[in-house]
Symmetry: C2
Subunit: 386 residues, 2 copies
């Protein structure tokens, strides 16, 4: 069965890549994207408008849980591998520009608002490293007494990250000649992931060791962490959590933030000003990503194993579920086109990415990909806090 | 004096364009932009990262009050000229792809959310025309009993516009085989410009003939126009208005909207939920554009003649002016890089565009341009309601 699948997917891949881009052909980059193929250490370069794969780059190491960021000109992607690999790829010439192994075990990264610096969060040894975006030369090494994670960019050439073991959060200001570091000694027990709101103002870290989340106002001259949503978390009972929700999946929908609940089969609606809970919607499974269609009219949700074959669509005004699709086994990620007309959904165990019309909720295209996980469109280059 | 200026600017232009792009060179488009040269019917293609002009396209007709939109791939710009000209230009090959004269007198346009349709608002004859974005073939002709303006795109392949003479607003839904038109017979006296909020939800038209503005909730199944800000306008006295503020200059800054007052030397701060006024900031002159730095931490304002040599920067948390610059005579427009690290400011009467660091407020670069007015960066391709 496994071989049959692989064969059929290989055929699909051949057909998808039948007409690769001539490397000297003029091509704009505003509608391109990169899909992580987690099992094979490769990425697929896609063209949104053509609903087509236009190339593949291989040799990127361990891409389980991989993510990436784009350069401001939308030409280069920086791929953060689980094995500490940092690869700079050129999506126009479809080549690896440079690849370094910068640690033994890493978990995500960020690009500074001016596009000049790449930061990577490392588990082993703990801390973050900051590289020149052009050369990948080391610019700053900021060690920590534990696993660094929840690394985000913030306006003013800053990065913010947290440390699992110590519960601390640090702001690293790279606007001067030397890094200036502000440390909050203990924002909470075992921060596990974080986000920066789309205005670059608020850093929010999820806590594994206790309920509630830690929020820091980055616009404040002398910021202080505060605790929000005290009832958010696993709760008193030690319930099994199959997969922690991704906090970058937090979605702004109008005046609300939508939050995947931890363990429970529901999403929470939060007032974006007060950060108080205003409602809940029961869902099909434990949500992993809750992502707003650009503009915020609907929110799309995928789910943890074993209910990860389904996507639900929720109306942000009524909080009602207005659509449900079964793209296939192991839906790992979703990405909207920048103005929200399409959603691309990765279906790992069928080796494909399914493209949906967000108005009709009907599939309108499909691309073969080898165990696809994260889908990243170049428009991310223009957004804060990703 | 005039000749001296022209000569010196010609020299500057030569130097700026000394190393034009080879038309076959690979170039990404995420950090490119187009600057309108209003007096010469030309546009300059610029590269943000290089702080440089990389080409010029001529022969675009009357570009006074010209604006433009970008294709989703950030390769093509559609330029709306005052003379009814609609030009599709290729910013990679730096050529006019197609140019038509679609009316006698037009005022702005929009691109549908899926990037497939271009709409243009016309004064003579009144109404809007909708074209295929690929070919510029006419798709729909929607006449009106007066000057069409305030034309904006809205999610779901829709356009919205108003009519000066009749006071009506129309929603044109292009998602089906034929246009479906919803008409609001009279939203107010003499609508003169409009905007759609960045979530694509609310259409707001300014009224010249009376105080207040008309707002329409586009998410509502059966939307009804309502009047907001009853004290916004010229007021009882017939004060001279040198230049109507641009409503697309309305800026979202956190939970606030900033609004250039009509006639008065101030900007108004509005609660983004209730649309009630929450404060005012006295400014140097009559504001024309009030634009939020991406993220909304500060707002930059330019002013009407004769005080149009100045830009002021306002802190959105304190409503205090925190910076003032004098870029030169006739500051017509400003554009931020997509993550807000730089602002580009056109100085018409010194034939240049000045680039500011938004943190230090210091000039960090300059580009020669012939009577520059509007500055448009390709990141606009990814935003709703522009």
């Amino acid at each position: 069965m496994k071989r049959a699948l692989t064969l059929s997917s290989a055929l699909l891949l051949c057909s998808a890549l039948a007409a690769p881009l001539g490397a000297t052909e003029l091509r704009a980059t505003g509608d391109l994207g990169v899909i992580v193929e987690r099992a094979t250490g490769s990425v697929l370069i896609i063209d949104q408008s053509e609903h087509a794969a236009i190339g593949r780059i291989e040799g990127l190491g361990d891409l389980s849980h991989a993510s990436l960021v784009f350069s401001p000109d939308e030409r280069f992607a920086y791929v953060f591998g689980r094995d500490g690999g940092l690869s700079k790829i050129d999506i126009l010439s479809q080549k690896i520009v440079k690849r370094i192994l910068q640690s033994g075990n890493s978990i995500g990264g960020a690009i500074s608002d001016d596009g000049k610096l790449i930061a990577v969060a490392n588990y082993e040894p703990g801390g973050i490293k900051i590289f020149d975006a052009d050369t990948l030369d080391l610019v700053a090494d900021i060690p920590a007494e534990g696993k660094a994670l929840g690394l985000e960019d913030a306006p003013g050439r800053k990065f913010v990250f947290s440390v699992w073991d110590t519960g601390e959060t640090r702001i690293v200001d790279m606007s001067g000649a030397e890094p200036r570091i502000t440390t909050f000694a203990h924002v909470g027990e075992q921060p596990y992931d974080a986000l920066v709101t789309d205005d670059g103002r608020t850093y929010i870290a999820g806590l594994f060791g206790e309920d509630g989340l830690a929020a820091i106002d980055l616009w404040d001259e002398t910021p202080e962490p505060r605790r929000i949503l005290p009832h958010y978390g696993r709760g008193q009972e030690e319930m099994p959590v199959y997969k922690m929700p991704h906090l970058e999946g937090w979605a702004k929908a109008g005046d609300q933030i939508v939050l995947p609940a931890v363990h429970h089969h529901e999403v929470l609606w939060i007032d974006s000003r007060s950060l108080e809970e205003t409602g809940r919607t029961e869902t099909y499974g434990q949500p992993v990503f809750a992502m707003a269609r650009p503009g915020g009219r609907q929110v799309w949700v995928n789910f943890a194993h074993p209910l990860n074959d389904t996507v639900q669509v929720i109306d942000s005004m009524t909080h009602q579920i207005v659509g449900e699709m079964k793209p296939g086994p192991a839906v790992l990620h979703m990405e909207f086109t920048s103005r929200g007309t399409e959603a691309w959904v990765s279906v790992r165990d069928e080796n494909k990415v399914v493209i949906y019309d967000t108005t009709t909720l009907q599939p309108i295209g499909e691309i073969a990909a080898e165990s696809p996980s994260g889908i990243f469109f170049t428009a991310r280059a223009h957004r804060l806090g990703l």
